[in-house]
Symmetry: C2
Subunit: 170 residues, 2 copies
């Protein structure tokens, strides 16, 4: 059984596979570069930043969190030869300016709970200042005890209303 969305995905994928020309590509990213960006539906890193299949590793999570991406970022830089990381947050992010308690209250309501210490301890990783948060997430990776000191990490903000990307942490 497929949902309507799954059927759409399979139809689109059949078309994609029918002209696929990337057999044989290997695991390490050819550009030796990594993006960490938000899971947000308004972002399409490959088109917005212009790379081809096989060239760049892309990590995505809620808010483009460096700490949430830590396992993946360590793996790609230690094992797959990546040498630079672009951490890209974006305007109008769903985690911007929202207190964690608001999110936790929604979760409790959805789960039919009036109280839950477990949900209260759930780390939402919201933030209140887009630029400051970008800087903090970059610093988190740079200062991670397992970070290789020569791996470059920079911080960027993508405007979802203009498509424009700007570097804010050199």
């Amino acid at each position: 059984m497929s949902t309507p969305f799954e059927s759409e995905v399979l139809k689109a994928n059949a078309k994609y596979a029918s002209t696929y020309k990337h057999s044989g590509l290997e695991c390490p990213p050819l550009k030796k570069a990594v993006l960490i960006t938000c899971m947000d539906c308004r972002l399409d890193p490959k088109s917005a930043y212009g790379f081809d299949l096989g060239e760049v590793t892309t990590i995505r999570n809620a808010g483009a969190s460096g700490r949430d991406a830590e396992r993946s970022a360590l793996l790609v830089t230690h094992v797959l030869g990546a040498e630079e990381v672009l951490l890209i947050k974006h305007t109008r992010c769903g985690l911007l300016g929202v207190p964690s308690e608001v999110v936790q209250d929604i979760m409790k309501k959805n789960l039919g709970l009036t109280e839950s210490k477990d949900v209260d301890n759930f780390e939402v990783l919201t933030f209140h200042d887009l630029e400051a948060s970008t800087r903090e997430e970059v610093e988190y990776l740079r200062n991670h005890p397992f970070w290789r000191s020569h791996i470059r990490v920079t911080g960027w903000i993508h405007d979802t209303d203009t498509g424009v990307l700007k570097k804010i942490v050199e």
Copy 2:
């Protein structure tokens, strides 16, 4: 100062932004759907599965791990109205068939350490059977104490040599 990669990104982005027509899109994904897939450079979910900007949330990490994606998947289903999740692993994944100790040894060598309990405790989340691991990661989310029981999670495998996507966990 920009690296050659950063300069390429900025040049491509200027072109992208010059024809950008998606101003005003909001945060909740229009298709109410979420992909969890690998950070691997050989995957391009948007093209491979055929959706447009604003339609689908995309979470990516090393190995398409459900447990690593848990924070993001809980947020998008509890707060942003997503109703179905496709967890997509892929062939020839860098975490497939590699013992965690091999990865940890590479990390220690890179860091100039002969011994490190901290690195030995680093959770790589490798796996040895692609289908079994897909099933386990799907089950992890379904059984998460904060998971909303009506949110559908299915498991899929993408072949990086053919571009073909197949559902393996209904």
